[in-house]
């Protein structure tokens, strides 16, 4: 009974709606971002190998594909940690407000 009442109170709280909307749109856009970066890179490999094999500059050996690939790894790490930071501060404090408001009488 108490559990059902809590659920009802939380779903009635506009902040809950806000949290769910904010967090899911954030996580979906981050997912899309990662997928665009990753599949973009993979499709580039599949369709235009020459582009990635181009040299970084005249007289250089390093190809464009290498810093780009390492860049994908670094971006992946950054994007993940940016999400974790925002979720653990902003979203979590809103989350705590919702739980506190629901549990006090």
């Amino acid at each position: 009974m108490r559990q059902e009442e809590l659920v009802a109170r939380i779903t009635a709280n506009p902040k809950y709606e806000k949290l769910v909307r904010m967090r899911s749109s954030y996580s979906i856009s981050m997912t899309i971002l990662v997928m665009v970066i990753y599949y973009g890179y993979i499709l580039l490999i599949a369709f235009d190998k020459e582009f990635l094999a181009q040299k970084m500059g005249a007289g250089m050996v390093t190809s464009i594909g290498i810093p780009m690939g390492v860049g994908v790894i670094i971006l992946t790490i950054l994007i993940t940690n940016i999400y974790v930071r925002r979720a653990n501060t902003e979203f979590d404090s809103l989350n705590n407000e919702i739980i506190n408001e629901a549990s006090q009488k």
Binding site: I10, L19, L52, G65, I66, N95
Partner: protein
């Protein structure tokens, strides 16, 4: 009782180690593939084993309930869990395999590293906190939260055990081969030592011991790989261009190693492999299980943040290590190449690039250290797999399906321990049975099943309100069967393993993921839509409460505590 068991286990282990060493010493002369017994490596590895067994003894004193066994009591911090996840995920295959791939093909190795990494952000954004909020011990807890327990759990346990089995065979065979080369031990003994050690960790120390074995291994691997990469870069004044220039000059493929080669053939395979790696990570049961060891969603997110950081950093290192091996091993071909001939390839095979490089940069002592790390890596991964398989049997099948939840923690714990022993024995037997088989496809198959069976069910049950038991289970089974079937009729199995003529494989792409995962999602959608039974209505009505818990964590706090 635990104490005597532990002591007996230790004696048994010591006996096996001794037997293995005697065998190795005796069989040294006649063989060509096996290396000389490397005493430095064995001593270093012995040190690791002794340390982890002391940890296991300590962990055993803390493992009293089923919750301790499955989740270390839920008291692991986000940072620790991040390291443990990294330790669970960075297998010997990725360390030796990717650096070997870079050594052989240059750029192409990078494509694989990226693929193995991109699953992590997806897991973070879509699953991590929801898993933590809804689950207790296994991912089946999450998938079956509002569904009929028996069918969902039976499916999830099958999904777990099949993934664990393929992943395990690949690890065991790899372990046997690797140890044969590194330590000069007989294959069978190597597999048995891995099996016995892993049983010791899991049986006595449960999740606590497994976690610490994984943490220690992750630290050792990251330190060792960092040292190698730094030593390589130091030689070139930290100028990658100079390293690449030298590599291009020396490598037999010359400038081709700077651009994409034959790894990605057609766009469909590229997308399919990409999807398999990306979503497969979010369906690996031994990885998902790690999310229940932390006390809150916040710590779960921190775990994946750290895990992604360490794993990504590690893949950058393997790339440098691969190129370092190209440059440094060719300088003394008499030490590292078969008959000192560059054309004949590396001693011990292409996967030995990183191992030989450790000798080139740090001498015999560092070679011993890296060999011990490679062995520790395998142990950490198989322990995680065993624990995950054991919990699927004891928590999902025994306690929930068979006993309908009417059992106590002590019984459940006993069943987990019996299962651990069974799984250990099965793993050793399979490892020996598959010695001469080609197991290269098995890790990819495990990922394909994880992304086609486990991930869609987990994703839809948590995020789609209209999903029902019938839909989830049907879709999961469709994904499981189609991913296995398509793998069997693809070239790596149909031609390379089953020996059919080249070009006869019916499935032309490198991975089934794109097709089998789509089929699973479609089946879940259609069957759930058509399901208007009373049970389905009830399950849909339960969604709002599940959503509140998955989003806010309300009611989940301390779910895995005491």
């Amino acid at each position: 009782m635990t104490k005597t068991l532990l002591r007996n286990g230790l004696c048994l282990l010591a006996g096996m180690l001794a037997a293995g060493l005697v065998m190795a010493a005796g069989a040294d002369l006649g063989t060509t593939i096996k290396q000389e017994t490397n005493w430095t490596a064995i001593a270093m590895f012995g040190g690791f084993v002794i340390m982890t067994l002391f940890i296991t003894k300590w962990a055993a004193s803390k493992t009293k309930t089923a919750s301790d066994f499955y989740t270390a009591g839920g008291g692991i911090t986000g940072f620790q869990n991040g390291l443990a996840i990294a330790g669970d995920y960075m297998s010997a295959a990725s360390f030796l395999g990717i650096s070997g791939l870079v050594f052989a093909n240059g750029f192409d190795g990078l494509i694989f590293s990226i693929g193995w990494l991109v699953g992590w952000p997806v897991l973070t954004f879509l699953m991590a906190e929801r898993l933590r909020n809804l689950g207790k011990f296994t991912f089946a807890d999450v998938a079956s939260y509002r569904f009929a327990q028996t069918p969902t759990r039976v499916f999830a346990a099958c999904g777990t055990l099949v993934v664990v089995a393929f992943y395990m065979i690949a690890q065991m065979v790899g372990a046997g081969q690797l140890i044969k080369v590194l330590f000069g031990l007989e294959y069978t003994y190597a597999v048995m030592i891995v099996g016995v050690l892993m049983m010791c960790y899991v049986l006595f120390g449960g999740m606590t011991a497994t976690t610490w074995v994984q943490i220690i291994k992750a630290i050792m691997l990251l330190c060792g790989a960092s040292f190698m990469a730094l030593a390589v870069l130091w030689q070139f004044n930290f100028n990658p261009e100079a390293l690449f220039a030298k590599a291009v000059e020396i490598h037999s493929k010359h400038d081709a190693i700077m651009g994409p080669g034959a790894l990605i053939k057609d766009p469909i395979s590229a997308i399919s492999v990409g999807m398999t790696l990306m979503f497969g990570t979010a369906g690996l049961p031994h990885i998902l299980m790690r999310f229940f060891t932390v006390p809150s969603a916040k710590e779960a997110r921190k775990s994946v943040g750290w895990a992604t950081t360490w794993i990504g950093y590690f893949y950058i290192l393997t790339f440098i290590i691969g190129f370092g091996a190209v440059v440094m091993l060719t300088q003394s071909p008499e030490l590292y190449y078969v008959d000192g001939d560059l054309a004949k390839g590396l001693k011990g095979g292409g996967n030995m690039a990183a191992i030989h490089l450790s000798n080139a940069v740090g001498g015999n002592v560092f070679l011993g250290f890296i060999s011990a790390v490679a062995f520790a890596t395998i142990l950490a991964v198989v322990s995680g797999l065993t624990l995950s398989g054991a919990s699927a049997v004891s928590h999902d099948l025994y306690a929930t399906v068979f006993k309908k939840g009417q059992t106590d923690s002590a019984h459940e714990l006993r069943v987990s321990k019996i299962t651990t022993i069974c799984l250990g024995v099965v793993a050793v037997v399979l490892g020996i049975a598959f010695e001469k088989q080609n197991v290269a496809y098995m890790v990819m198959l495990a990922f394909a099943i994880a992304c086609s069976a486990n991930f869609p069910v987990l994703f839809m049950s948590v995020l789609w309100k209209d999903c029902t038991t019938k839909g989830a289970v049907t879709g999961g089974v469709v994904g499981l069967i189609s991913s296995v079937a398509l793998t069997i009729v693809s070239a790596p199995v149909w031609e390379a393993v089953m020996g059919h003529p080249k070009g006869s494989a019916m499935f032309p792409y490198s991975s089934p993921g794109l097709f089998s995962m789509s089929a699973a999602f479609l089946a879940i959608y259609l069957v759930s839509r058509m399901d208007n039974s009373e049970q389905a209505q009830r399950e849909r009505a339960l969604y709002p409460a599940q959503k509140v818990r998955s989003e806010t964590g309300m009611g989940a706090a301390g779910a895995s505590g005491h």
